[in-house]
């Protein structure tokens, strides 16, 4: 898997590093133009747009309190009695007599939050590690190079461990909670971002404008902060979109393994899905609603991310 990951990341870096050399217009404008005609990008964008909309307005439009066991005495989970869809509860009741529809809508926000925070954690820590490695390698002399080599080997080792296992280890350490899920999934993304950032920054470092900046004596720290870093962000945005999808799915997997969010009050799709697995034969709807939510959302982010990646990739571009 590592080589595949690395190859993909390297491609992405290469794609954006050539940004400055592009002759016609900015790379981004080109990409967006290309993406407008891609069914993948369109579908992805629509799904993501809808999801974000629901996540933002959800809590205000939900008909009921998603945590109140209003109809608690109508549900008998030991006898498979789950009052189904009916006028006052469009999606029926969950196993504690809470309104499923409200839980789904409110859950969208929690789900998005998990994805975004996890990705952000991965990005920040990854950027730090990748940035340190790249800076050390470029400006740190002989020792710097060694530091860089060791850091990057460690990143490679971490990349080699399946993401779920990394997340699992972290979740085991922190005990189950929503915060844990975010951190665990985020930590699992660190090596990806680290590798991406470092590669991207190195590519920038060897570009003409940085060489020029060095030549005219701009301090090294400033070059890193104000030139290299901002210009390395392109591939990161693409990667972040893809990571968001993974984060949502991994969060569900962690919940399934019992390491997820144990707070039964809060509504979050991954927790809801894992929790409903046990009613799969008696009340499959309890699992299917959140499952469909997760699948569609993850697909939306993946389609969008893949389309972005493709439109940025010069090797695929040139055949058009």
């Amino acid at each position: 898997m590592t080589t595949a990951k690395i190859e993909k990341l390297d491609r992405l870096i290469e794609a954006t590093a050539t940004a400055r050399d592009a002759k016609t217009g900015s790379l981004w404008r080109q990409s967006i133009r290309r993406m407008r005609h891609s069914p993948m990008a369109l579908t992805g964008a629509i799904i993501v747009g809808l999801f974000v909309l629901v996540a933002v307005v959800g809590p205000w439009v939900a008909p009921y309190d998603p945590t109140a066991q209003t109809w608690g005495r109508e549900v008998f989970l030991n006898q498979n009695i789950f009052p189904g869809p009916r006028p006052e509860n469009w999606f029926g009741l969950d196993h504690l007599g809470r309104d499923m529809f409200s839980r789904m809508i409110v859950g969208a926000r929690q789900t998005l939050l998990v994805g975004v925070v996890a990705t952000f954690i991965g990005f920040i820590a990854g950027a730090f590690i990748g940035g340190v490695a790249a800076a050390a390698g470029t400006f740190g002399g002989r020792w710097g190079e060694r530091v860089e080599a060791v850091i990057m080997r460690a990143v490679d080792v971490a990349l080699a461990i399946p993401m779920l296992l990394l997340a699992l280890s972290v979740a085991a350490l922190l005990g189950p909670s929503l915060r844990t899920v975010m951190i665990a999934v985020g930590v699992a993304q660190i090596p990806i971002f680290a590798r991406l950032l470092r590669g991207s920054m190195l590519a920038q470092a060897h570009s003409d404008y940085v060489l020029a900046a060095i030549a005219i004596g701009v301090p090294k720290g400033r070059i890193v902060v104000s030139h290299i870093l901002p210009n390395s962000l392109g591939p990161v945005i693409v990667q972040a979109t893809l990571v968001l999808a993974t984060a949502i799915i991994e969060a569900a997997a962690l919940s399934y393994l019992g390491l997820g969010n144990p707070d039964p009050g809060s509504a979050e799709w991954g927790t809801m899905l894992a929790d409903a697995q046990r009613f799969l034969s008696g009340a499959p709807q309890l699992a299917i609603y959140p499952a469909v939510g997760i699948i569609v959302t993850a697909l939306g982010f993946t389609l969008l991310g893949e389309a972005m990646r493709e439109s940025l990739d010069p090797r695929l571009r040139r055949q058009e």
Partner: protein
């Protein structure tokens, strides 16, 4: 070349040592002691303390780390908290099941993925391309434990076409050779056993293949697109070679290189996926073991597993890197 190899090995050992430190720190920082897992809930505090002391949890940290490293080198990961057996034995015993399942999943992924990826590349930009790529992406977006459970509910529980659990019908009388039941059934001539094993493999293998399938579709597509754009393919086309010849000799042969690399390395995601599929089918491989270890907080078992996987990968990666170095002189020059 030798210098490159030595350098990589050195960096690797530093990284591995770092990994072991991290793992140890992780293990030390885990909440709750093993004593709570080992004793019934009405054990007295005195009994708990006694066990803690007896387990050496009161020794200085560095002694414990030394002990830890020594054990890893001897492949002794301690005993599982839930079964009381050596973790190395548990993992070794369950390996064949997971290997068989992974191979079956990989077979499905390759058998479907390469033709689909080729098709998508050939029809790039059409709805066929979009359908294939997003279809394969959909596979990665379904939480694998849910996919497994749904497959089982539909094809085993409701339709009754396939068995719901295990690797063989319970109590089946078979000869064990390699531990790969299908293979064993064929070489010993117990074809009914082999067929039984195949039936038990189908559903979990399909569930497990969803992610590698998507990866293979996309890699095939990308590398076919890459190769199609190369001068030698255009030349071949221009020469007027038969399309099938171009496809077989020029396109696929060159596109296969990255695909083949990927297949070897996808095993990682398969092992992680096995954790989420095997338990659904009570398949009894490493995945089931790790699932149980996770839900029961059997941390030594979990750590043993992570360690084995990590070392496994690091070694495979090193081999791949080195072979690249051998095959592609540019790699050596670059660093």
């Amino acid at each position: 070349m030798l210098r490159y190899t030595v350098k990589r090995l050195l960096q690797l050992s530093v990284a591995l040592l770092g990994l072991s430190l991290l793992l140890f720190a992780w293990f030390k920082a885990l909440p709750g002691g093993p004593e709570n897992r080992l004793l019934p809930e009405n054990a007295t505090d005195r009994q708990r303390e006694a066990l803690r002391a007896a387990l050496g949890l009161d020794e200085p940290v560095w002694t414990q780390y030394g002990e830890f490293l020594g054990r890893i080198v001897r492949l002794d990961f301690g005993s599982s908290l839930s079964s009381g057996r050596p973790i190395a034995t548990e993992l070794a015993e369950r390996l064949p099941a997971t290997v068989e399942l992974s191979l079956a999943a990989m077979l499905i992924a390759v058998g479907l993925g390469i033709p689909l990826g080729y098709l998508a590349a050939k029809r790039r930009g059409t709805w066929i391309d979009f359908g294939t790529v997003s279809g394969s992406l959909l596979g990665t977006c379904i939480p694998i434990f849910f996919l497994a459970a749904m497959l089982k509910v539909v094809f085993a529980q409701e339709l009754g076409w396939l068995p719901t659990t295990f690797r063989l019908t319970a109590g089946a009388d078979f000869t064990e050779v390699t531990g790969l039941r299908v293979f064993d059934g064929i070489i010993t001539g117990e074809f009914d056993i082999a067929w039984d094993a195949v039936k038990h493999l189908i559903l979990p293998a399909i569930a497990l293949s969803s992610i590698p399938l998507a990866v293979i579709v996309r890699i095939t597509r990308a590398s076919v697109l890459d190769v199609v754009g190369e001068d030698y393919v255009r030349t071949a086309d221009a020469k007027g070679l038969k399309p099938s010849t171009v496809r077989g000799r020029h396109v696929m042969r060159n596109a296969m290189l990255p695909i083949a690399t990927i297949i070897g390395l996808l095993l990682g995601s398969l092992f992680a996926g096995a954790v989420l599929t095997e338990s659904v089918f009570a398949f009894g491989g490493i995945g089931s073991f790790v699932y149980q270890a996770t839900t029961e907080r059997d941390y030594p078992a979990l750590m043993g597993f992570i360690l084995v996987i990590a070392v496994f990968y690091v070694v495979i990666n090193l081999l791949v890197d080195l072979s690249y170095g051998l095959l592609d002189p540019r790699v050596r020059v670059r660093k």
